[in-house]
Amino acid sequence: MKLSTNFVKDYVDIDVDLKTLAEDMTKAGNEYDSAEKLINATNLVIGEVLECEEHPDSDHLHVCKVNVGNEVLQIVCGAPNVRVGLKVVVALEGAKLPGDFTIKRSTIRGVESCGMMCSLAELGIESKFLTDKDKNGIHELPENAIPGEDPIKFMKLDDEVIDFDLTANRGDLLSILGMAYEIGAIYDKKVRDIDLSHKENSEDINNEFKVEVNTDNCSIFLAKKVKNVTIKESPDFIKNRLIASGIRPINNVVDISNYVMLETGQPLHYYDADTLNGKIEVRMAKNGEKLTTLDEIERTLKEDDIVISDGNKAIGLAGVMGGLETEITENTKNIIIEAAIFDAIKVRKTSKEILRSEASSRFEKGLDPNRTYMAIERSCNLLEKYADAEVVSGLAKFDETNKEDTKIDITFEKINNVLGLEVPKDAVVDTFRRLGFTSEVEGETVHVSVPKRRLDISIKEDLIEEVGRIYGVDNIQGKLPELPMKAGSYNKTIRQIRNKMIALGLNETLSYILVNDKEALKYAVSPEGAEGIGLLDPMTEERNTLRYSIIPSLVKIYEYNKARSQKDICIFEIGKGFYKKGEEYVENTKLSVLMTGEYYAGITDNKQVDFYTIKGVTEEILNYIGYEGRYSFVIKNELPKEYHPYQTAEISVNNDIVGIVGRLHPEQFKDAVYVMEISLDKLLDKKVGKMKYKEISKYPSVKKDIAVVVSKDIEAQSIAMAIKKAAGKLLLSSNVFDVYEGIGIEPGKKSLAYSLEFGAQDRTLTDEEIATTIDKIVTALEKEFKAELRK
């Protein structure tokens, strides 16, 4: 809301400067974006063009002699409308104009120029507010302008504007009167009455005009007729106040409708009475009904739109925009003034689809029906004064509104308890008085009567807020709530997993969950029937769907960094993945990892990330959570196509697949890029035994190495399991320390070297016991895998 201080001063006295007013309003809860003079320029005077010669060296410039009161200046001017006798706005040498523009004495094509004759645009008036004449040249002041005087004052543009960013509940402040009450409350000033006086003729509108409301979405509809208006330009003060408020002046009648809306907050619509058939009906639109609106666009309506009809067809979209057919034109003589209140939600919905206007934004926030009457009266007052209107008696009306004050009872104790502050009783009562509420104290209770203009106030807490706003909350002494002692809790596991990943040398990322629909289900094995979840109204194609897996995001991060010559990328993220199955929406917490390039590097040693590195990271986190010995890596024939088919596995914990680990397909990723993803929800759901001490054997263990030759396609994991099974409990650990193919080994075969550790809790094993166990292992491997012991 742009507030013209000149405008509001009609109704309340303001003794403070612009900045203070803006700051004080902010402290009362009405934040401002900017507070500036309407014309932010210095060193301007009225001038009169005495001479106007063509520039000797230009086909469009003129060299003028301009009387600026105390002297005559030579000014070069390029405007087509400059001529002798014209009264103009002159920016003198040193003048500062909007846009950080300073006027300097200069030489234009060899001719000295001491100042500038200004257009309104150069003074900072937006071009949408200008007449065609003003758009094309310097501004022409009327004859009675006196050279040497202040042109801004003369044009009544000496206004200031505060642009407020109002909260959604304060619809009342979308009016000059509302602002006046607010300012009045802050500075304890009385608000002056609005002038509604006018004469009415002896005719009665009800004899010739009917209003019919056939929908619940209109609570009040008033129609008033005025006759024989003269359409012309508005007086300066109306035009300028509209401009200051951000509304384009058109003609006196249209301007008055806007002016009254600004004053009262009640949107109005003026119809050319001669285009109506003596009737207005408010109803819901028929599906597919057509209406050409003021902006000359044919709209197709829906049954959710409220329309104004002439009894046959739609002639306006209620609260949003009028129809073209019934609009005020230069030839309009007689007017029907409409003031009504339409359902806020319906108007909001229609306006969202068609146009957010000054009117619709007011309907959306609710209106005071008392102002509906006031706006009609005020229109008559101004139309009589500035458009020579003859007002027809009576109102054609439909009215089901409640105009009574809202009554709220509150105790002083309640106010003090909620604020945590002792507000003196007098101060409470005084606050209500300043706000223009009437109140009556009865013992510890205050009966408060709140005028309808404050639609935001309906319960005790609203009154408490008002006391806080006007009395101030700065005196409240902060304290901590007195609550019982207890230990707080948080998700420690997630934090520990994060810290573990960081300890493993990975960078934590934070990425967007919205991805492109083509990526949403990539890189992951999704549950059967799972679908991506798309947005109804995405901002971009790039982000139109919720991701199922975090890996697409990590891949994007990898690509971003690679494009910036970062080759070594080891990252992880803990976040959510989403999918839809049937009617159900599922979200899952996941841990995802991407690794490529060097894991660590030094002069003597470095580690290029390979499958076994990311497998190590995976095992490390599984062991850390407590699943040691309960997981395996499962080779699957059908993998998402983004993976290397022979370097990828699913992660199984307690025989349940919880994730995937592998290399991204080399066709798409030239670098060896490895990823891993685990569903933490699935994983952490599984029970883990408590950390407990296990006795360390007092007897030494014995290490023996064996090497076996087996067919190349036999997996180490299955051999390890066979070894464990054959050896029994004397085997403490087995570990592959070498895999060899090549000279000395038959083609198609490989040699696996195992380091085996044997021991027992109660004794030192004998050589025979160990030899027997190794024999058992070898026999089992021979039998199961046709393995040969390598000598």
């Binding site: 960094n561 976040g575 929406y585």
Partner: protein, 345 residues
């Protein structure tokens, strides 16, 4: 005879002194002390010496032998030591060459801020709770006193996936969840950090951003409690000496509502580019839980009052680490991430 022994001793000592390696030393030992050595020869020839002289000569030879053996040993050890030193010298390395780079890993700045806030509130007995990011309209808006069509919904342009489901626009959605989940309707003290989403994208807004919500419900909770709690919070997160300003505002789920400004921690309130010359930085939204919200979620507003507050985590992280553009938080440039690899300050 004595002279001869003295001569042998003198000569041997000189030779030991002059010897340059183990080989020479060994030769000296053989020559003097070996089975066929000079001193051994004297002992062997004792038969030719007068009987009364024998003990004297014998003792003298033994003394000289012990003395020479000690000298040889000493010299031998010196040679060994020198050799070892020489050996080790060959293994000399340039210790100023760079170390093996062991990855340190890093924690994302937003999560650093979340953990710091969690630790603070957990220490004051709050529980950290979580809620769905894909939320229902009911929990995100309706149960927070924001019925469909409410103009305040415009404050939060949302990403809907159906007419009922949307990405939560505020962690406040968890407020209703916590109240509804508490069947006994006992007092509540929670915070909820998490991701939130709005249709907005520029240098200061990201369509995805972090928020933390706080909610306390009990008998006799007042605005003074809110003020005190937020003072602790702001002082811990942004600086001990900062001032707070409660500015009346409007949120549908609180009444009264306040936006909380903090005195500019960059300029100390004098006015600078960060605070847009106002001396204040808007940091939190807060207020007393609206009685409708209490009622809708099963709490009796006549018995209970409460406060709620919410703030943006991204901005806190930006302030804390001097990050100028919110997009840096979500771009995940490795050079950015690597800067957050230390322990917490």
């Amino acid at each position: 005879m004595k002279e001869e022994i003295e001569k042998i001793k003198k000569l041997a000592k000189e030779q030991i002194e002059k010897s340059i390696d183990l080989k020479q030393l060994d030769d000296i030992r053989v020559k003097c002390l070996g089975k066929k050595g000079e001193l051994t020869a004297i002992l062997r020839g004792m038969g030719e010496i007068a009987a009364e002289q024998r003990p004297v000569i014998g003792s003298m030879v033994n003394t000289v032998r012990d003395e020479l053996e000690a000298l040889i040993k000493e010299k031998e050890e010196k040679f060994k030591e020198d050799m070892l030193k020489l050996e080790l010298q060959k293994e000399k390395i340039d210790i100023t060459l760079p170390a093996t780079k062991i990855k340190r890993g890093s924690k994302h700045p937003v999560n650093r801020v979340i953990e710091e806030i969690e630790d603070l509130f957990v220490s004051m007995g709050y529980d950290v709770v979580d809620g769905p990011e894909l939320e229902t309209d009911e929990y995100c808006f309706e149960r927070l006193n924001l019925p469909k069509g409410h103009p305040a919904r415009d404050m939060q342009d949302s990403f809907y996936v159906t007419t009922e489901y949307l990405l939560r626009t505020q962690t406040s959605a968890v407020q209703a969840r916590v109240m509804m989940a508490n069947e006994e309707k006992t007092p509540i003290r929670v915070i909820c950090p998490g991701k939130t989403y709005r249709r907005d994208d520029d240098a200061t807004h990201s369509h995805q951003f972090g928020q933390v919500e706080g909610l306390v419900i009990d008998k006799n909770i007042s605005l003074a409690d809110l003020k005190g709690t937020l003072e602790v919070f702001v002082h811990k997160m942004l600086g001990e000496n900062l001032e707070l300003r409660f500015r009346p505002s409007y949120f549908p789920f609180t009444e009264p509502s306040y936006e909380v400004d903090v005195s500019c921690f960059k300029c100390g309130g004098k006015g600078c580019s960060l605070c847009k010359q106002t001396g204040w930085i808007e940091i939190l939204g807060s207020g007393m839980v609206h009685p409708n919200v209490l009622k809708m979620n099963g709490y009796d507003p006549e018995k209970y009052t409460g406060f709620a507050f919410g703030t943006g985590l991204d901005r806190l992280a930006m302030f804390k680490f001097g990050i100028p553009d919110i997009r840096l938080l979500y771009t995940n440039d490795i050079r950015f991430l690597n800067q957050f690899d230390r322990k917490d300050d």
